[in-house]
Symmetry: D4
Amino acid sequence: MEERDIEKLLQGVKSGEVDIDSAILALKEAPFEEMGFARPDTHRGLRQGASEVIFGQGKTPQQNCEIAHKLLEHGQKSVLITRMSKEAADYFFQNKKAEVEFTYDEYCKIGIAGQQIDTSSGVGKIVVATGGTSDIPVAEEAAKTAEVMGNKVVRLYDVGVAGIHRLINKETMGEIMSANVIIAIAGMEGALASVIGGLADCPVIAVPTSIGYGASFGGLSALLSMLNSCASGVSVVNIDNGFGAGYLASMINKR
Amino acid sequence: MEERDIEKLLQGVKSGEVDIDSAILALKEAPFEEMGFARPDTHRGLRQGASEVIFGQGKTPQQNCEIAHKLLEHGQKSVLITRMSKEAADYFFQNKKAEVEFTYDEYCKIGIAGQQIDTSSGVGKIVVATGGTSDIPVAEEAAKTAEVMGNKVVRLYDVGVAGIHRLINKETMGEIMSANVIIAIAGMEGALASVIGGLADCPVIAVPTSIGYGASFGGLSALLSMLNSCASGVSVVNIDNGFGAGYLASMINKR
Amino acid sequence: MEERDIEKLLQGVKSGEVDIDSAILALKEAPFEEMGFARPDTHRGLRQGASEVIFGQGKTPQQNCEIAHKLLEHGQKSVLITRMSKEAADYFFQNKKAEVEFTYDEYCKIGIAGQQIDTSSGVGKIVVATGGTSDIPVAEEAAKTAEVMGNKVVRLYDVGVAGIHRLINKETMGEIMSANVIIAIAGMEGALASVIGGLADCPVIAVPTSIGYGASFGGLSALLSMLNSCASGVSVVNIDNGFGAGYLASMINKR
Amino acid sequence: MEERDIEKLLQGVKSGEVDIDSAILALKEAPFEEMGFARPDTHRGLRQGASEVIFGQGKTPQQNCEIAHKLLEHGQKSVLITRMSKEAADYFFQNKKAEVEFTYDEYCKIGIAGQQIDTSSGVGKIVVATGGTSDIPVAEEAAKTAEVMGNKVVRLYDVGVAGIHRLINKETMGEIMSANVIIAIAGMEGALASVIGGLADCPVIAVPTSIGYGASFGGLSALLSMLNSCASGVSVVNIDNGFGAGYLASMINKR
Amino acid sequence: MEERDIEKLLQGVKSGEVDIDSAILALKEAPFEEMGFARPDTHRGLRQGASEVIFGQGKTPQQNCEIAHKLLEHGQKSVLITRMSKEAADYFFQNKKAEVEFTYDEYCKIGIAGQQIDTSSGVGKIVVATGGTSDIPVAEEAAKTAEVMGNKVVRLYDVGVAGIHRLINKETMGEIMSANVIIAIAGMEGALASVIGGLADCPVIAVPTSIGYGASFGGLSALLSMLNSCASGVSVVNIDNGFGAGYLASMINKR
Amino acid sequence: MEERDIEKLLQGVKSGEVDIDSAILALKEAPFEEMGFARPDTHRGLRQGASEVIFGQGKTPQQNCEIAHKLLEHGQKSVLITRMSKEAADYFFQNKKAEVEFTYDEYCKIGIAGQQIDTSSGVGKIVVATGGTSDIPVAEEAAKTAEVMGNKVVRLYDVGVAGIHRLINKETMGEIMSANVIIAIAGMEGALASVIGGLADCPVIAVPTSIGYGASFGGLSALLSMLNSCASGVSVVNIDNGFGAGYLASMINKR
Amino acid sequence: MEERDIEKLLQGVKSGEVDIDSAILALKEAPFEEMGFARPDTHRGLRQGASEVIFGQGKTPQQNCEIAHKLLEHGQKSVLITRMSKEAADYFFQNKKAEVEFTYDEYCKIGIAGQQIDTSSGVGKIVVATGGTSDIPVAEEAAKTAEVMGNKVVRLYDVGVAGIHRLINKETMGEIMSANVIIAIAGMEGALASVIGGLADCPVIAVPTSIGYGASFGGLSALLSMLNSCASGVSVVNIDNGFGAGYLASMINKR
Amino acid sequence: MEERDIEKLLQGVKSGEVDIDSAILALKEAPFEEMGFARPDTHRGLRQGASEVIFGQGKTPQQNCEIAHKLLEHGQKSVLITRMSKEAADYFFQNKKAEVEFTYDEYCKIGIAGQQIDTSSGVGKIVVATGGTSDIPVAEEAAKTAEVMGNKVVRLYDVGVAGIHRLINKETMGEIMSANVIIAIAGMEGALASVIGGLADCPVIAVPTSIGYGASFGGLSALLSMLNSCASGVSVVNIDNGFGAGYLASMINKR
């Protein structure tokens, strides 16, 4: 029941065409979503920028391809597809409309359909830092999500605490000290979040990764570390959840 | 070695009083903390506002009392003491300087020494929501931390999802839709964070609490729920960590 | 906004006293809880019978006492207080109104204020079975909750599988075969739920208890057992959650 | 030893043909299953309706095919095969008797042999709700099990709490408020069960699914959430156990 | 219905005093426990020897005292009470009948009422070995349970693997090589079971204890070690379950 | 240093050929294994019967084949190979010596080389019971291990507690009541061990299996159940460890 | 049988007083501990220095006192008692011999009897670093254990990674770079071990502490972090095991 | 900024070419890594010997090949590649420079490029012991890492505690008693570390392996055992972390 429906109903009441009991009933049954404050579904809700993100995993190659085209038809300039399999990308190349541009990064499992992201035009500054090179796919998921939502992203990869000079030097520290939000991504012992949290003056979003051997237990070790960080200003998202971190960082950056 | 020390050294070099080798040595040994970008220790680092927070747990009544007085002497207007035992508060009342005001909330285990928080003057808006009434001590720790750092805080207590009408009504929704940051605090199944995360348009900081029976395993149930939230924009801090959530919310609110 | 408020508003529209735009606004803001389908808060929601249950744990003796009296004043005949401490019961005896009857079972930590439960008048048949005698406090919480909601309850205590003849004999089997719902309560290895589930023809609600030693890990052992029951028709509630089982059993019994 | 055997034995005793010691021995050895109250094996026990369910997983294609044909020969109208692999379905198509109808849904891994389920004729109303689309295979297992046992099923898929407007609107709420039993199926944080449990007035069977990433730990996150649900009337079955939920829902619906 | 009751019934049939229908009914209703093969309840079932064991924990001082006296009256010579609190023992001393002997070992929490155990008369040989001195209370529970059931017990305490010469010397090895059953009790890393299992030629019952610090997690470390023992012939009972080990050892010893 | 070496040395001392210091040195260095009480390596130690068991998993097809032939050459009559892959069995058939008989059961992954087991000649009676049909491979590993070591084995398969009449009937109960040792094998909730432990009068070896879905967590559920069994006389071996159970049962049976 | 006993026996053989068979028997029976390579029991085995360590926890005040005096009588200069309760210390003061010096540090629960440790005379350099002030009791246990074994110890307390400037400055770095062994002690996220491991050039012994809140799970978080350290040269001892770290550090320092 | 740069800057100050403010700025910005105490990155930091180790897992065959050649060009004599896949080794053979020697051990997944390790020239003595033969790949990773760093290594494989005579005999004990460092590698119950720790007089590095069945939970069982070792001088590295143990052993051996 949209606003004009309510108006129409009230006019009926006023004119006598609708009796009051019927009107009461109709109003009581007005569905919730039309009350104006419910946000549209999150997965379809990134329309704050001019782009859209599809979570590719668990969708068929065909589904990925169709949803992306539909979004482009509805005016999205770019569509980012995360956790996109090689198979889905191949399908996309073969089945995409001629005018749709498409690039795919197999290592990070990220596809971009439509206008490629113009990283020069982002606002604010989000730093995405990783402990090792193996964390890069998760980092790129975070970074590209933030970029596609219109943020400026600086990447600081492989600055893990086992060689702390890589982190604590003028250039890296300069980026960290001037960031608006930092995404700290690490597997194994996940100490990066604490060290950066202790140095930086801005919110730090910690992303544990499932990278590690033996007793890392699929990311549990890094997850617990990050939750127990002795630095203030650190919060944590799910293991390997680069998209979630990028989305939240954009939210904070645009406050 | 502060800036004026470096200046003095360089003047010595210029004047010939200090030979170059000695100067090189002195400079190489300059401790890191003087390089300008290291933040002061977090626990002593809330000086962004005019107030300070002491983590009372694990400190003796005497230590709590002494640190608070020292901070007040150094110009802090208010000092917030979290997780302060009844015993520590009693000690404080008996040993405080006459001119130091002190209030204590036994239920939330929070003491405030010095000028009481003026909640009317805060900036922005941080909503602190809890699932049940048992989560209130953690919530007050978050709320008062945010207030003492100069933020405006709105409390929405006992709006858990088992009676969703308490959450989804005009007044509550209005607060949620207009918040700058939301802190969602819940024990048991921790679903509050997901529901609020799905409704709100701003960052949500989820705080699992150790409230619960049986298989809640000291907060593990709520913690896992919140980490797996299907809503975007949600991140998590440690179990019962009200202080951490309040601190982070303030950081985001002041972006 | 209750129904008569809507009616009044519509009459205002009809009569021209209220213009349509104001009416639209008023209606859009009508809080959710007045839409008619939201159930009142669960903890205050047992009004289907003539009685009410208070979860006593985590409430002060004073709170327990006040809530119970308030409910009795509002017309409840009986008020059941679960997990009520000895201290709270003592307080109750000393502070209750003269006309309020009160009984307390220290072993099961259950208090009953007002008219005592008349177990002869219940409908249907709910069997409450336990593996051992140590499970009885949880069982009584379940049984009394069901009784206070107006159900007939049969108790089969200490019929654990280690002495299966206690379970599989004519009398016990007769009760199990003729039950409408069964609540199977057991700690340690929790096998009772599977065995009863395999024998009975009705829904079985399994309640793991925290009774056990060593590797029972506070009820985890029984919980996992019951979730993995090879018998169909078995579902599980939280560890030691007698109230939840009794409430659900009543719901099913009254279908 | 059936009743007539006992009779015969006693007549032998009376007539002197059987001496008392032999009779005592024979009676002491009378097998339990003849005492009349033991239910047939659960897995073969769904004969309450005109149909039968086979748990296909862990059986060879040949076994699935043979058991289904045997059941049809013995008078079953329909046979539902859950968790049936593509390979098993292919085998079935190639080896089935000409007169046996067979349909297979690869996504939900469900095969139906014999007369297809007539969903129009079910009794009562069981609502099957899922948090996301990935939960649908488990949901269909539950729904089809309930249908094959003669229940009327309403499906509410993808009504997860991250977009609560999908759940709280007139149509969906109408179904929930008028249900006899609800099966709430969700992975990740499993909050759906609590929200529905807080809204509905009937028993809710919660099914955690193994859907999720990172710290969902194969369904553990949703399982703990559901067990700790703050809503009353909610009980839980094993992870992904759609069959168990459907079976139990039918039991309750037919009370 | 005991054997003589059946006999009487059959004689009634023979003589014509009892008609056949009544006899059939009586026989069908004969409770299971009288059919001859059901073992009496385990907790009351140690009557193979002349003694009885009461599990004292979770029973009130009064209950312990009463049960023990009842058993003595029924002809038991000795009654062993395990996990008996100091408080329960004091109660016993004050309330026991004059003629009842009673000894209590506070360290091991074991009381013996009636005729004291005559350790010289046991049969076979059960070795009870512990890794450290802290494991002794559990070991005594095992040893005394075995003795009270009529077995000969040899104690080898504090022979843990950190000083393997304490285990591997002529005297100790002699006892191990000539044992009929061995109970290996250890906390911490629980390696004792594997080492003894590798040396001995007889069944080894491993009892993990909750002794340990840090990551021993209440006995979990020793429990997992023992379950994963690389030696054959080792099986495990619950953490700290000395009674269970002693009971099982007696069963095996008396084969 | 064998006995004759010591003798020779002492004769050297006596005759003066060996000086005392050298003799002391030689004696102090005498290796441990010659002291007479160390058992040969367990894996090579089953020579109590006329047969031998090889743990096939983790060995190459070639290794399995060679070890088996070597054992047969050294006089073993039969060699049992557990957890033998299809590939290893195929290799065996192709590479075995012409005179070596070989049978392979693919379902249970058990190969037998040499003289086939003569099950008629075993001593004592070991009952091997399983909860379901999926537990049979583990059960056969236990049963065949016991048979190859010369024990008589009775198999009671698919007698799980969900249909307790399958367990509690004259024939099955007769086997259980007359067993010398029982191996109870079950996955899921593992209740079989408790029920049998409550009925039987002999040692019960419980084997949890990894059979199960959802929250069975690879056998953890059954493992915890069995450790917490409320029946006395039950001990537990590792998950799926059929060999270990069979070996231990033989040890006990031959006491 | 000590060396002189063997000598005596051989002389008996040589002289003919002892016949060869008797000598063989005597030698074969010589207990293991006299063979010369077995280390004395660890707990009594710190005799490499002039001091001894008693693990006070789990011993009675009297036992602590007696063992310490016995060791002093046998020539130990100092005896360190770790995890000594206030009660045990009080007992010691009241019952010690007049000439025995005794000091007690209640915070760290460490008592020293006899000659106080002369920290000036230690060899090598062991650095003991902690993340926070709450880790100091564990650190002192490690430091004093190392000192009593004759090592030089440098303490770097409260240098946790949340304020990395406290760690990375000339003075602290100088100690770390010149250490022979480092003990890194931290609770919460345990990142200190990784950061120090990445900076230092010597073995790092990591000690997780049980300090922490919420999801630190009694030290599990720090333990997993340290095991997964991305720095090489780091190994881990048990939670809160200061003694073990100090003992091992001394072993390494004295190589 | 290296030392000569600082010198040049100071000379500019002295000569007046550089004003003091500019000099202050330049000095404040001098990057950390030039301050002289930061160690180069650990993964590239094994240059203490003449060889280098590459962690092959997670690198492409091409990356492994290129890094190895680069290191050889820069003067390394040998390059050890751990966890190298068969595929990577094949690539190496096909793409290596003609003059580069290369050997590959498929079982242990170790490749050696360049001059093969001369095991005769190592210093000190590191003993690498394993419980079983399945632990050998981890052991070889440890042993070869130590050898390539210039240490002498003694291998004692398959000396597990289930057959303790394999460990406790003159030859093996001699090696253990004379070792400088011992690496104890075991899966299953991991008891080897405790037993060796109790016998040896030198630091023991324990490596749990993921070898095991059932409840070994991927090495967790051995990990917990080793952390709880009752022997002093034992510390633990991550599951299967042979490289880490070899590296640390070398560090200790070269003290």
